[in-house]
Symmetry: D2
Subunit: 386 residues, 4 copies
């Protein structure tokens, strides 16, 4: 009954990474083991946001590489996977800073804007947030109410944004607002008069992450605040798709984390008859099913990364993986939780927290319904959103 | 688009209750609406146990009827359903007091023991707990380590118990211990020297309920502490089966609560195109599926109640419903959570708390695996527990 | 390892039937065992319709009771369940004759029409069919193309009907056609000039049942052919709802039949290590799940029968059970098939045939999608059919 | 509403095949379209085996490449996928000939045996079969009863084999038998005295494939009939694993075939309101789910092929994919069947036949239970087979 030699990497994907990818994987894994896992369950129970993490995330160097454009998609995916093995909320902080803010600035900002922000964002000296979602329209950015109006010297912004990760921590917000009926993107320092943010308390998921509301009341910005490339909702959506790519990898990491913890638990937990839980067919069957789904999640993420690296990735391909991987990750987490029995509801173990955090990930950045209809439109040629 | 006239009671079971059943249903429903729902989410977030609830539960009169033996099984089931619409943790407090403690005393205690405890337990002047589970053996009471030894004047008890609802609040504990290798039941006042209890903190489920560990270190009790009818593990198991019956009804209530909240949400939530979420096929399909499963849970519970009233109920019938109803209740809660999108992770709504509380109910009092094997043994004649 | 004493009737519903119900149950069970099961798999393989069954079904007396209106809904449900334990195709023959034809005539026909047909239909001296569905519109009778035009002496009918059980065998067809844009029901003897029927060959499901197409080419019928009560599509839909009620019971019988066969198989099938398949946890778990779902199906059907007997049943309640029971029946059949391994694909056993026949039942008389939207409309007040 | 540009190959795997792979893919696709699909449903309905296919399969050249060892694993996988888009039974004929017979001979036969058989098997001038499974022990070859006894001139074989694809058509059978308690492999010409084969009739799945029983009654073979490398059950199991690899690809093809047919059907099928079925959310959601699972199946198969090409593939990796892909393929087929409504039960369409054929594939070469326990043993270090 020796310990198994191959565990979570059943299809040996990790064995085939290149040197840089392997190094980054091990670096983030160590960071999670040392900095995140020892205290996060208590933070979660007490709804505590750890501010000392911000510079430490900066020191990882990943965001700098993103800011420089020197991180290939698969390596970035591995980063997301390893971070989310620790915490979905943690990975989301990085996704927002990296994919939504740095990525958006790289794609759509002016040279001056890039010079001002990219370096600071890469080190996390500056924190950014992405203000797209509004209180009343979750998955439908087209319903946007926030408005920009042209003034003599620039623009004045009015409106509110909801469910904004890093919202109260940010130094700069990307604010999407309608100018003459067309959605545009603005870079707004959060100390601009009229800009306020408020933390959403009372969440039972993502309790270790800052989720805020942004209020813009006659916020005046200069003309240079407008991102020249962000000329329509399409720019926001392209940015979201980049973030979703990271989610696809991330949730595979959350599932891996749950799986490894549950697998070890059922091996270690000896019952009164001297047999471990793992000796039961019903338990092995569930482990096997989970191993298959985790393998699926990783293969799908990796293929998406290859398509992205080749410049071939399409939005519906990302939707497919967002839909598929989030669903399977949460199912894996739920099965793991159940395998732990009563111990599964205690924060001595990480599975419960991972599971409730995945609830957020399941529905943010587009619910399963929405993504299935995006894929469905591709498959049938017919939009069926309403 | 007028509001639907029939909602959660699609098969009109509530319409057919007798007068007493209807009165009790409405009484508990009102209690939940007034005393539980307004504050419980905040208590849950802050891991707060509301001690003022205890006398209020007593004043409902339900436990007194149980103590007197004047509550028919279906009416008791309705009580459990309505309580758990409010909170699984709340229903569990009543299940422990009613089914596990009062029920066990009624079935197995001496006349003197009954005289001492039943009235007080019925009013909740005294709180009881049920000490069966031990740290290492969740679903397998046969592995019990706690020992009783005969002394000249009675017994001395040593051991520990885990996951004991009401454990630190109880005035009296039913302690199961092996005497000469045979499991016996003892009534132990919790102020007996050597008896200590400790609360399990850090749960992310059942945060509004007291879950304790009991430690018995040379606890000396008189001969009269032994419950004369509790001569073997069978007595404990019979008692558990009574409690499981209440769980079957209870989880239907939790599912109903989630369903009603989500149904109303999708009707009220209008999107930017002016159409409510409820107008989407994907959402209606999920509502219909949930309505079917809730109907199933209730029909199964009701039939079990009829069999119980007729003295015909068998343990494997209870196992079937425990297994079926807990699984479906948590699935209903999860779907409801998802229908709420981002709002579903906020404690402005009750669904999230209900869902995480159902995680406890899913695995306590026997996991799905165990109950499926109990049913399986009945169906095949072959035990397959290990 | 003695044989189990309680098998498919885990919640003891059969024990509580009244004397008439029990007698009918045993009568049909015997009929199925003696007349159906010995040869039906061969007939299925060879796509053979057994015409000698028709008078034998008549001799059961059930249809006469339906024609007289002396069969209570629960008893009729038990009949459907027992018939479909034998064959879904067989039960469908009875459903068409009983619910769709006799039921429709009783509800909507003139006294003269009743006098002409009911007695003969009750004995199966005359066979009826129900011509509603048309080739292009499966679940949407509103799209009907068949037309009736008033003539001096009556009506002339033109159009075609598809998927008509008993279509080529019938002596009389209930034909639904639009008269001045409104759907009306006509009783048409199938030997009327211009009326032809053709069997649909090449089905892989329902191979033992006659499924036909009806063609009406200038079929002239007298004024008395119009059923006076059948004034709109509502009459057809009410009739369909009665038939669906029988389906709900029927599929529970098909599931029971599969379950019993698989249960016995896994008990009897001893492997090389001397242990029966039934000793495996993975198999017991599936048996337990199936027992739960079959119990659910039967409880739902029985409750529907009670509501029907009390005149309280509503269409969405029937939709709920059609949706729920057909889905679960086919899932039970599929699991049973799988438990049989390679033997499961051979017609030595009945499970395979039952499973493929259930495919027809799953989608006829309204797909799961349609029924979920009917329930959904009740739950939300919003129609979402297109 | 133009036709979608990307359909079944959502993750663009087919775009990345090398030239040989693409050529073979198109060749087999054309063969299936021209030779298989036009008539197979009728053959299936009538339980007809098309013997003219045998030389045509030979002419494809694939088996010759296998015999020569010049077909890389991924290309072989593509062949299996394309063949099974046509028919699982057809793919099985090739799997038996290619993986089980040619593959086994290449791995374990003597130079003389190879010289005698490989060329003929490659052209299908000779047909082979693989005699491992016995009537009583489906998934457990360890329970083998067939015996070989040493004689002066060779061996005498006695026993029987069951569920043998190509059993009555074969010129040569690989017969596994216990010699002094150890399983050995023999090459037995089927015209050897004492060797008889009988077709299993009455299947409702794999009706277009020959499934036979083999009977060996004092079959005398020379010493040279023993395959020198086939020294234990391990040789048989290694051969089976190669065949399972082909199944993993094959079922993805069956699923693709179903998906494409159903997708086109729901696009083409216009309802009375002028809208195609494909415009319904409930249908698009199912299409999206299927697209995800088919993508998963293909990614898993491809990765397995890469591991195989690198000589790194492990049996539990194959088990994972056999388990995962067969389950998902049959679920895809079932959903497609349902999307077709009543038309789905008619052999005008291929989905029904594909679905019932997949029932065979689901449980042959190891059931889901068995494969999950093989994976489970790898994950836990604990065998839990009995």
């Amino acid at each position: 009954m020796k310990p198994p030699t191959v565990t979570h990497d059943l299809y040996e994907l990790d064995q085939d990474w290149n040197d840089e990818q392997r190094a980054v994987m091990l670096q983030i894994r160590k960071f999670v083991d040392q900095e995140i896992l020892p205290t996060i369950n208590e933070e979660h129970n007490n709804e505590v946001l750890r501010k000392d993490l911000i510079p430490k995330i900066g020191q990882l160097g990943i965001l700098e590489m993103l800011a420089e454009g020197s991180l290939d998609p698969v390596t970035y995916g591995i980063v997301c996977r390893e971070l989310e093995r620790g915490s979905s909320a943690l990975r989301s902080i990085v996704s927002v800073q990296g994919s939504l803010v740095i990525g958006c600035i790289r794609d759509f900002a002016s040279a001056e804007q890039k010079a001002t922000w990219l370096t600071k964002l890469g080190t996390m000296e500056a924190i950014g947030c992405f203000g797209l979602t509004e209180p009343d329209f979750g998955s439908n950015p087209a319903g946007m109410i926030t408005r920009a109006e042209k003034t003599s010297s620039g623009f004045v912004l009015n409106g509110s944004k909801c469910w904004i990760t890093n919202g109260t921590q940010a130094h700069v917000a990307i604010v999407w607002a309608k100018l003459d009926g067309v959605v545009k993107g603005f870079l707004v320092p959060t100390n601009t008069p009229g800009f306020t943010a408020q933390s959403i308390k009372g969440k039972w998921s993502f309790r270790t992450s800052d989720t805020g509301m942004l209020f813009l009341s006659n916020v005046e910005v200069p003309e240079s605040a407008l991102m020249p490339g962000a000329k329509s909702l399409g720019a926001a959506i392209k940015t979201l798709n980049n973030a979703r790519y990271g989610i696809c990898w991330g949730v595979a990491g959350a599932a891996r984390g749950c799986f490894e913890e549950a697998r070890q638990y059922v091996i270690d937990r000896v019952q009164f008859d001297g047999k471990p839980l793992a000796s039961h067919q019903l338990i092995q069957n569930k482990l096997a099913w989970m191993a298959a789904e985790i393998t699926n999640m990783e293969l799908m993420s990796k293929r998406l990364g290859e398509l992205k690296a080749a410049g071939r990735v399409k939005p519906y391909q990302v939707s497919l993986a967002k839909m598929n991987n989030c669903r399977k990750a949460i199912e894996v987490a739920r099965v793991c939780r159940e395998l732990m029995g009563a111990n599964g509801i205690h924060s001595e173990y990480h599975i419960g927290r991972r599971m409730v955090d995945l609830e957020t990930v399941l529905t943010y950045e587009g619910t399963e319904h929405i993504h299935s209809l995006i894929v469905g439109e591709n498959l049938t040629g017919i939009p069926a959103y309403s």
